[in-house]
Symmetry: C2
Subunit: 136 residues, 2 copies
DNA sequence: ATATATTCCTACTATCCAGATAGGAATTAC
DNA sequence: GTAATTCCTATCTGGATAGTAGGAATATAT
């Protein structure tokens, strides 16, 4: 239950790897080898991280990736959201559309419960940073 | 991210429905109609709830289901675990087997982070009961 | 300039599982 | 004995996840 995608786990390991390089670039190939992540698959992950402005990249020879900020300023929530979008236990959270549960009536009792779960998860993930993970 | 299966949402709505029946039995067909849950699919859900001793059942004519305890004594964690097992963001939590991340070494930095997430989720889900949800 | 190393882009494939359906067997009330 | 119900087993299907493939664009070094 509530399992995290391989993609997200890979992304976090990649970010941790970059954090330990302390500003020096690391190539996707290097990260792939060090963290046991399929090389081609990792490329797509790095692209997403770039799109979310969590890493900077340099193309061409001697290129590679580096963190776009200090490890203590990058929340785990940001990394996870870059991979799989915002935390949303049920799809009706954050959208106006009614789910099947409310098709016949105005109220959906569990909605507040799910909202609370989202808040609990967001609070934890938002409070942790790459630095916290690096320090174990 | 962290989306909850339809099965779990159905199960919760079914439990809430039973709670509102205050000890009287409700048939699967009745719950299905009231909560807009596919009838045959709901049967399997009720079986699981029974297996986890969250509901009692009576077979045959005038049979049906009722809560196996008071709504305030049934935690949401128990209901969710009955559907999809225990909260486990990453598979290495709760098992001794090493994941690919640790194949080449003894340590996995993110493990503590994931453990903390599990605890945060368990704490929230464990603190809420069917009664809380019924009261909205 | 040319070779090389890298990111970046698009498309494809395979596997797995959630969600749902179907048919009937076992059980009980009346 | 009939109707209503839970219970059991098997099967189908769509979509998502994980991973692969091939190459275009870009930058560096010599």
């Amino acid at each position: 239950m509530f399992s995290v995608s391989a993609r997200t786990q890979y992304a976090i390991r990649a970010m941790v790897h970059l954090a330990m390089r302390e500003g020096h670039t690391a190539t996707a190939a290097e990260i792939s080898a060090a963290e046991h992540i399929p090389a081609k698959y990792l490329e797509g992950i790095m692209s997403r991280l770039k799109l979310s402005a969590l890493v900077d990249s340099e193309r061409g020879k001697n290129g590679g990736y580096r963190l776009a900020g200090r490890p203590e300023d990058i929340s785990m929530l940001a990394v996870i959201e870059a991979m799989d979008g915002s935390v949303r236990p049920v799809s009706c959270l954050g959208s106006q559309t009614n789910c099947s549960a409310t098709a016949a009536g105005p109220s959906c009792l569990p909605k507040k419960f799910w909202g609370g779960l989202k808040e609990a998860i967001d609070a934890y993930l938002g409070s942790k940073t790459i630095r916290d993970v690096v320090e174990g």
